[in-house]
Amino acid sequence: MDSQNPFEVRHGSRGGDIELLGLSHKEIGDDDARLVYLNDPVKSNERYEFAGNSIRTSKYSVFTFLPRNLFRQFHRVAYIYFLIIAVLNQLPQLAVFGRGASIMPLAFVLSVTAVKDAYEDWRRHRSDRVENNRLAWVLVDDEFQQKKWKDIQVGEILKIQANETFPCDIVLLSTSEPTGVAFVQTVNLDGESNLKTRYAKQETISKIPEEEMINGLIKCERPNRNIYGFQANMEVEGKRLSLGPSNILLRGCELKNTAWAIGVAVYCGRETKAMLNSSGAPSKRSHLETRMNFETIILSLFLILLCSIVSICAAVWLRDRKDELDILPFYRRKDFAHGAPQNFNYYGWGLEIFFTFLMSVIVFQIMIPISLYISMELVRVGQAYFMIRDMLLYDEESNSRFQCRSLNINEDLGQIKYVFSDKTGTLTENKMEFQRASIWGVDYSGGRTISRNDPVQAVDGKILQPKMQVKVDPQLLELSRCGKDTKGAKHVHDFLLALAACNTIVPLVVDETSDSTVKLLEYQGESPDEQALAYAAAAYGFMLTERTSGHIVINIQGERQRFNVLGLHEFDSDRKRMSVILGCPDKTVKVFVKGADTSMFSVIDRSLNMNIIHATEAHLQTYSSMGLRTLVFGIRELNNSEFEQWYLAFEAASTAIIGRAALLRKVANNVENSLIILGASAIEDKLQQGVPEAIESLRTAGIKAWVLTGDKQETAISIGYSSKLLTSKMTSIIINSNSKQSSRKSLEDALVTSKKLTITSEITHNTGASDAAAVNPVALIIDGTSLVHILDSELEELLFELASKCSVVLCCRVAPLQKAGIVALVKNRTRDMTLAIGDGANDVSMIQMADVGVGISGREGQQAVMASDFAMGQFRFLVPLLLVHGHWNYQRMGYMILYNFYRNAVFVLVLFWYVICTSFTLTTAITEWSSMLYSIIYTALPTIVVGILDKDLSRRTLLKYPQLYGAGHRQEAYNSKLFWLTIIDTLWQSVAVFSIPLFAYWASSIDGSSIGDLWTLAVVILVNLHLAMDISRWSWITHAVIWGSIIATFICVTIIDAVPIFSGYWAIFHVAKTGLFWLCLLAIVLAALIPRYVVKYLYQYYSPCDIQIAREAEKFGSPRELRNTRIDTNPILGSPHR
């Protein structure tokens, strides 16, 4: 549980890295760099001791286990409190309890945890050993030899075969591919299963290390945990080459589709990026626990009060008797054994009082429910067990279970007020489907039939077939086959060529069909949009079949054509477009650009083809309003001088060491202009199953849904309608502003409007309900540009005020960091709980910011999941997660905290009352062993089991009435009123427990141990029955645990009383023979519980909360779903008293 800064732990998002590269204008200084001499591990490691490649995930060795494990455990305040108390008790003056008894609880907890840690560490040791002894091919004396992983050193040259795992972080030198490309699978590192491409530098591709010495020096940055960033340069043969993230192979990844790869180890062992990233999720603290800490402070004050009372009374008692103390038979201050009488064990009045105070702290120690923290942890583990195994939260499609990554905030799920959701991949499936296209001003939308064009395109005598089938438009299909002779057909040709070429897709041939002559072609890429477009192009006969770093092969209507990829400007979030410069077979050079409409229309030459542009714009409008994702394509032919100019700039930029990203962006901007429009594509991003219903449920439950998306406003709104986020009953307020002033104005106007709406709705409905927005809901739609001006300025207040009046907020065109900003806007201004849910790297910041972060394990990789507290497969699981598990967890945990306060306080108070009868000297009638076992054996299990298993309402009811979730919003299970009620109840119960035996045995021959046993049993039975009274569902486990605890207590008390050297020897057997004992026990339990029983009944029957009514309906059925007249009200109860 090392509490590292949570923001450090995470992988940087990809967008961020581009920025990072752009910003790092300074060269790696010699101080910050590590120098790696190629093929010279001795020299590489000479100056610095680089880490070897052996790894150690284990935390302890045999010798360090005890001290280090204890050190880690004592990081908890609770344990330190335990320890201080135990140490205090070891002082002879303060030894209230025997040594054994006082250390037992701490020792118990410590040893249980230690055993668990030891077992886990043993398993880590074992896996480390396996890992370290794996073999790799290392260049030694000019030939590759097998070497154990742990012996690999920085600077050594390694050869990795296909499907092998990289043993350390390696800079790629050459591969089996002539172009120096290598495909890697990073699933172990970031969970993304698509293949990524890595490149060797041109200068090293041709080197064969066995035959010629490679000399060189790599200067790279210090080890860091950013798996998407790497910065270095390499000096080979006097040339200086820059290296980036695409040149490095990371430990843990696997080499795929490449026969071999050769590289030089730069980071080894614990310095590899994979190892640096293997740290846990950050620990968050639940809202309930934070509240509980406040009450814990009240309890500590209460403890101090009790101790003060005891010590003050003791002071008075001692002062009143100061003359008698010397020979008082039960005090005997003077020791006469050795000549002159001297004080025995008496340190003066003041010190005696001080000691009394400390001793009372020791005796009353469990007033602070330390065991509660441990029980809470166990309960959360139990709750997580059931959440993970819930069939409702299992996603069939991705075969993923629910994941609890953070174990501290289960109960927060029951109090969520705001849900911030990403759209793509969260509300929608992120399974892109090419739907329509607008080419040269013509809309092709007839894609209703699955294409059965003849994709019989033989390569090497095999038939290639795209893996995904796309519905095609017959008219467009017809046109696409016409070649590029007619004018219309030429545009179609160019458009489809753009679809097939303008991307970073890697085509892979896979053998998954039963038919050996047919091979499936799979498109691997990082963007699902690109995949959809490439599949679409393939369906129309433009099949991308091969990609190397220098060229692509496109099979156009059965004809193999080779295009040289002269340059590629990757997508970035500033330009919002990408481009590829192709050398076509007809010796022309063309630049194909695709991008978001806003960014594209600014670079399209508007002087040409105005009507086409207008038509395309109109089509785009239509597509967006249907909720389709659109991309616009443009083309330009480069003449020779333009090409030369671009080429020089591109070469210069891509080898630049300083500010490469910025330079590349500039080059891209120069070439991406004066484009001729080709058309636009429309891709459907299907809504996930059950999303509208889920949103409806969440809304009914009183949860406000905010959708934050990078999509266009129209797309966002249309998805909003189809997902029932927006309804026709809602009034939408749209804010699109370009400056701070206009933002302010539109916010103020919107506020007036929303107020008016709220007031009218209040008048018309005359409702006392505070949530007027529910009656006449307002939806706020705001775009990223406005947010730029609003966030981090004084306008935030206005926005929050406005947003809190709206039941739905839709933010479009927002950047990843803005998402976090919006979450922070709400989180910092209310005490309500926020939940963020998303699936992509762009949601990471928002997930970390929110009180509860939920990751969707979707198609966009695992980064959101890695950053999240909980992860699941589908958005709709949010409903059972919050409404069912969240509700249960909150109710259970709230009750458990109150009960634990009560349970410990009642015991302490019984001890306290008795102390008053012992002239304030902290004698306990209850044996010290029982005191210690009280919270370990006598009462521990039932509260844990109830905290894990009790259900106030069934799953069905909770899903049927989402409004029941409001109990969490209103903090019904844990609030100060309940706390104080509990304390009052506790006081009464302790008085009942103490005083009934007191009066019954006053002036009798009862001895201390017997009455102590009576009190022990009475308290234990009482607290267990108290719990029993509040259990909602009695399964056999509950029965076993409650009655088992009581029986266990009897057994323990008997065992303790069977030890002859304890003063209470055989007491229980004597006292249990008397009728008075049993009558006392019965009277205590009844007298103590009656007030609670009465109050509980009256409250439940005459002022029932929703949960209570729902429980009754669950049990007795609700005979009248529809309201009827009052006449048939009575027969529901066959009440026995009549």
Partner: protein, 353 residues
């Protein structure tokens, strides 16, 4: 603990490639336990159930209360305070001196009238008041180990300040508890005829057999300069020192009785018993009272009305509550599980608010 989940980033720790593990179906197995659907009963406090339970409690408790009151009433108990009366008038103002010197005659005679027939056995108790036998210093000042066997005669560390004699010999039995042994004695006679006081079975058998050794004899006891109480016959093993055993089972409360002996003979009503008390024990230094108690016993123990009254009070209260609840229920019933009572279904004009 949480970190472990991600540490597999350390590279291919699970040797199976991702493709293999992906094929493994992770679907949770259905069981009523994991789906939290174990059969269970769901108790709800319905008026019927609550009222019934109160009636049952009332019906059970009142008879128990009456029975214990009845039993308690039939216990005949005679309590005579003697600490004041047993000081000769000359010493009334200097009772401490009287009790501490060995020169004074400690004998004192009292007469007790038996009000009712007392059935055998009649238990004789002494009752002390304001004596904190539960004081921490006192309770701890004993050595249970030493009491058990001769072998651990020397284990007296816990017994201070009565652990060893001035020349270092262990005191047996050591500690304040034994040191302050009560040593008043009572002799009873009816019309000059001595009533035998039996000491049989006044101590717990378990104590005699296991807690106090039969091979360990009192030694160096009360040999110091300050005498706390009774002396013990060094020729009798501790397991037979019944008075000591009774005394050493320390009382729970500052006002306590200890069994002195038994008269195994019925005492007729209106018998006058003459008690000769040897008033040795010093309670005068802390103002404690001494009482002599003769009492018969019943199934409920000694005379104590508290529990009977408590039972009747609890039972009565329950019946009263039951009646109240019936009335309240008849006046203002609420249909159970009526969804119209749910907060969001209530009429906004709100008769429920």
């Amino acid at each position: 603990m949480i970190g472990e989940a991600t540490s597999s980033g350390g590279g291919g720790k699970d040797d199976s490639p991702a493709a293999v593990s992906a094929k493994k179906n992770k679907k949770p197995n259905y069981s009523r336990f994991t789906q939290q659907e174990l059969p269970a009963c769901k108790p709800i406090l319905t008026p019927g159930w609550v009222i019934t339970s109160f009636i049952v409690v009332g019906v059970v408790f009142i008879p128990i209360g009456l029975a214990s009151l009845y039993a308690s009433e039939h216990v005949v108990e005679i309590v005579e305070r003697y600490d004041k009366d047993c000081i000769p008038p000359d010493y009334r103002n200097n009772s401490l001196h009287y009790i501490q010197t060995s020169e004074t005659d400690k004998n004192c005679t009292m007469t007790i009238n038996v009000p009712k027939h007392m059935k055998s056995p009649v238990f004789i108790y002494y009752e002390l008041d304001n004596f904190y036998q539960n004081h921490r210093r006192y309770v701890k000042s004993r050595s249970d180990k030493q009491l058990r066997s001769k072998a651990s005669e020397g284990t007296t560390e816990t017994c201070k300040p009565e652990a060893v004699t001035s020349n270092g010999q262990p005191i047996v039995p050591c500690g304040l508890v034994a040191w302050s042994l009560f040593n008043d004695t009572y002799k009873f006679s009816v019309k000059k005829e001595v009533l035998n006081v039996s000491k049989k079975d006044i101590a717990w058998k378990s104590d005699q057999e296991h807690k106090f050794g039969s091979d360990i004899y009192p030694k160096n006891f009360q040999s110091g300069s300050l005498i706390g109480g009774g002396k013990l016959d060094p020729s009798i093993p501790l397991s037979e020192q019944v008075d000591l055993i009774v005394w050493m089972r320390t009382a729970a409360l500052p006002n306590f009785r200890k069994l002195y002996g038994k008269i195994e003979k019925d005492l007729q009503a209106n018998t006058t018993i003459t008690v000769t008390i040897e008033n040795n024990y010093n309670t005068y230094s802390f103002g404690g009272k001494k009482k002599l108690v003769l009492s018969t016993t019943s199934w409920i123990g000694g005379k104590n009305n508290f529990l009977g009254r408590a039972y009747i009070a609890i039972g009565g209260l329950c019946l009263f509550l039951a009646v109240c609840f019936v009335f309240v229920y008849l006046l203002k019933p609420r249909p159970l599980g009526d969804p119209s009572y749910l907060s969001w279904n209530r009429n906004p004009s709100g008769q429920m608010n």
